[in-house]
């Protein structure tokens, strides 16, 4: 049972990491056009090199 002393903080930390990642994505406006982003994956316009 002593294991819990490590495991619970670790699980909370990992979850918190995910939450922080979500906040970052939200703030950088990656949720502004969900519809368009799901379609853009189908286009091969910038497959060879990133958009100039």
């Amino acid at each position: 049972m002593e294991m819990l002393v490590y495991l619970i903080p670790i699980s909370l930390f990992l979850g918190g990491l995910g939450l922080a990642a979500f906040f970052w994505a939200l703030r950088s406006r990656q949720f502004d056009d969900p519809e368009g982003d799901s379609r853009r994956i189908l286009s091969d316009d910038w497959d060879d090199h990133p958009r100039p």
């Binding site: 049972m1 819990l4 619970i8 699980s11 909370l12 979850g15 918190g16 995910g18 939450l19 979500f22 906040f23 970052w24 939200l26 703030r27 950088s28 406006r29 990656q30 949720f31 502004d32 056009d33 969900p34 519809e35 368009g36 379609r39 853009r40 189908l42 286009s43 316009d45 990133p50 958009r51 100039p52």
Partner: protein, 728 residues
């Protein structure tokens, strides 16, 4: 990826891979940001066609399509105008409208939406962690371990609830301080009591804690709130962008000097210059100049009206051929435009009385749940002989298990699915209860000019004239910007006619165009000008020398999909009516073509509204479709109303739904979707009621455990959401 529209380049994920983007953005600083609405885009192909097509225009630095909002934002050099881009997009086959970037900046950074999403994320994170600990407790953790888990849960839950559930607390407080009950009151009570009770149990090392229930309640309800917000935000932003189309300015002439002023600053007696193509900002009398005006948006008349000195004009008419100097007789509040708006506000109030299904459900649900919990508390207090802790525990279990989350999701999940479907077809739901009202419709009233027809004339008898006559007509028509002349020129051009050689071509504003062919004068214009008598159909007359005048007749072209829409509506069993302010001839003609049996011509705006109210009084649920000022009162009076995006501001404001594309054919399907959506909402209520019917007795008898509460809550929420997704 989104480097083009990044406000802060540092936050963009693709910048690391594309350092060039930052340099480019830095080099081209004072870019103008243009926003265009693209009602017809729908796929990956469209995105890349539009973006590439716009990028090819010299001066455009970047273009980024937002498919969710169906618009493109363009960063371009200041000299690029929206009109250029619209023409370019038109060439690519996409309809586009300019939007006011200033107005839109409010909605572009959707702060409220992101705030809810953030609360939702925090609630979800906390819920998962607490659920993890709760599963351990449910599967048998005891004594010190259980207490530890409860304490950790409390440490996670209490701050989360304080942060995430704020919107509910705020709404509940607002309702309570106004002495009303809404859905947020039982929600807040359930969350607060569950958290408080659990903390109390934890302090006393009790067996049951409902932290997970409090959190999942918050999470599911926030999800419903977010869906609701998202639907509304899309509709609101698009409605705002449409409102930005018209510019409220006028050219005032003071001592021969022209100045541009806001319409609000005009006073009675001022002189206003109205150029050809301009809309009259005020009521007034013509002082100088001759022209024709188009009053189709005001009255539905398709025939242009002559305007010369002393003609009385009203606000909203469009000046067609010559510049006019107008003395203002009524401005602002007193103008006929505003009187029309007053009619609307009277009719509007009746619409606000409609109670939505959600409100009706909440008004039954909220008091019911509170009474039930109180009953459980008092009952167990009496049965157990004063065991306050037990009684309170069971009352809380009842509150939690009656689970308003299924109810909170029941409506938004369905409306989101339905509005999304309608939006993809080009219909924008502006009003919260519009879908429910649309589902009840059994009578459809159409306006003619601009709604069933495009409001643009097309020549109908070109084939009856000899080629020589057409050549002369084309030469004259090509010199004028009058809509009839333009339509004639376009049609003749398409028929492969070459213009005749004329000399001295000049336009006589208000009358027509004349020129010289050899020694003869040729004229194209109004009937009276060439010595003919005008009939009821829209026509332009051509006179060669002193010969007999030749008539070119015009008819308004049908809007695409109009015939299909009317036929489909009639097939659905709807009564279709046609009300127009236009003359009898064109109206009867159109009604015959579309197979509409109930029609009325020459209807005044007030009579339109009266007709709609009369139908409603007879028990009909009327859907009004119209675009003009003369329709606004009727639009507001109808049970539900639709206007095309090309309609006047006032009409769009008065209507509940805006049709973004040109095509009318999505109308019947929209009604079907609305009916299905209402059915789903009712099904969802039944599902929620069914869960409660099973769970409430269990909770009342004191058998409910946190595990049972968690199961009931998740199961009902998920069933309700899945049922909403069934909407096809």
């Amino acid at each position: 990826m989104s480097s083009a529209i990044q406000a802060r380049p540092s936050a963009c994920p693709a910048c690391a891979a594309a350092p060039a983007a930052e340099d480019l953005a830095a080099a081209a600083q004072p870019d103008a940001r243009l926003l265009l609405s693209l009602p017809t885009i729908h796929c990956a192909g469209c995105i890349s066609t539009v973006e590439k097509g716009l990028a090819r225009v010299p001066g455009v630095h970047s273009a980024r399509v937002n498919l969710t909002l169906k618009r493109v934002s363009v960063d371009a050099a200041p000299e690029i105008t929206a009109d250029q881009l619209i023409t370019e997009l038109d060439g690519l086959g996409y309809e586009a409208h300019e939007l006011d970037a200033g107005l839109l900046s409010v909605t572009a950074t959707d702060k409220a939406g992101r705030e809810i999403l953030m609360r939702l994320a925090v609630a979800g994170f906390a819920m998962m962690n607490v659920m993890l600990l709760s599963v351990a407790v449910w599967s048998g953790a005891a004594d010190a371990t259980r207490d530890l888990f409860h304490w950790i849960s409390a440490a996670i839950s209490l701050p989360t609830i304080a942060f995430s559930a704020q919107p509910f607390f705020r709404n509940a407080w607002a309702a309570l301080s106004a002495r009303r009950l809404n859905m947020d009151v039982p929600i807040s009570l359930a969350i607060l009591l569950a958290a408080g009770m659990s903390l109390y149990e934890t302090i006393l090392s009790g067996q049951h804690a409902y932290f997970d229930a409090a959190l999942s309640l918050t999470f599911f309800l926030l999800a419903g709130r977010y869906l609701d917000h998202r639907t509304r935000a899309v509709a609101r932003s698009a409605a705002e962008e449409l409102a930005a189309l018209e510019v409220p300015r006028a050219t005032r002439v003071v001592d021969g000097v022209e100045e541009v002023v806001a319409i609000a600053d005009l006073a009675v007696g001022d002189l206003v210059r109205v150029r050809p193509g301009g809309r009259l900002p005020v009521d007034g009398v013509v002082v100088e100049g001759q022209s024709e005006t188009d009053r189709s948006l005001l009255t539905g008349e398709s025939l242009p009206v002559f305007a010369g000195p002393d003609s009385v004009l009203s606000a909203g008419e469009v000046n067609l051929t010559g510049p006019l100097l107008v003395r203002v007789t009524a401005a602002g509040e007193d103008s006929s435009l505003h009187r029309m708006a007053d009619l609307v506000s009277v009719a509007e109030s009746s619409k606000n009385r409609y109670t939505s299904l959600a409100d009706r459900a909440a008004s039954i649900y909220a008091p019911g749940v509170h009474l039930l919990a109180l009953f459980a508390f008092l009952g167990w207090l009496w049965v157990s002989g004063g065991d306050l802790r037990l009684a309170l525990n069971i009352a809380v279990a009842v509150l939690i298990i009656t689970c308003p989350c299924a109810l909170g999701l029941a409506v938004p999940a369905v409306t989101t699915a339905a509005s999304g479907r309608l939006f993809r077809r080009g219909l924008l739901i502006k009003h919260g209860t519009a879908l429910e009202r649309l589902a009840e419709v059994d009578t459809v009233v159409f306006d003619k000019t601009g709604t069933l027809t495009e409001g643009a004339p097309e020549p109908t008898n070109l084939g009856d004239h000899p080629r020589r006559v057409l050549e002369i007509a084309l030469a004259l028509a090509g010199a004028s910007a009058h809509p009839l002349a333009r339509a004639l020129a376009r049609a003749a051009d398409q028929a492969g006619i070459k213009p005749a050689r004329l000399s001295d071509i000049r336009e006589k504003p208000g009358y027509g165009v004349e020129g010289r062919l050899g020694g003869e004068t040729v004229r194209l214009g109004r009937a009276e000008w060439v010595g003919a008598s005008s009939g009821t159909t829209t026509a332009a007359w051509l006179q060669i020398g002193q010969g007999a005048p030749v008539e070119f007749t015009f008819a308004d072209a049908l809007r695409p999909g109009a015939a299909a829409a009317v036929a489909a509506l009639q097939a659905q069993g709807m009564a279709v009516h046609l009300l127009s302010g236009d003359a009898e001839g064109p109206v009867r003609d159109l009604a015959d073509r579309l197979g509409i049996t109930h029609w009325q011509a020459g209807v005044l705006p007030v009579d339109k509204a009266a007709h709609v109210t009369g139908l409603s009084a007879d028990g009909a649920r009327v859907l009004m479709v119209g675009d003009g000022l003369n329709d606004t009162a009727a639009l507001a009076a109808a049970h539900v109303s639709i206007s095309p995006a090309s309609a006047l501001d006032a009409a769009r404001v008065a209507s509940d739904i805006v049709l973004l594309g040109k095509d009318l054919s999505p109308l019947p399907a929209a009604i079907t979707t609305a009916q299905k959506a209402t059915r789903r909402i009712k099904e969802n209520f039944s599902i929620a009621a069914l869960y409660n019917a099973i769970a409430v007795p269990v909770a009342l008898l004191g058998f409910a455990t946190p595990l049972a509460a968690a199961l009931a809550m998740s199961a009902s929420s998920i069933t309700v959401s899945l049922n909403a997704l069934r909407l096809r």
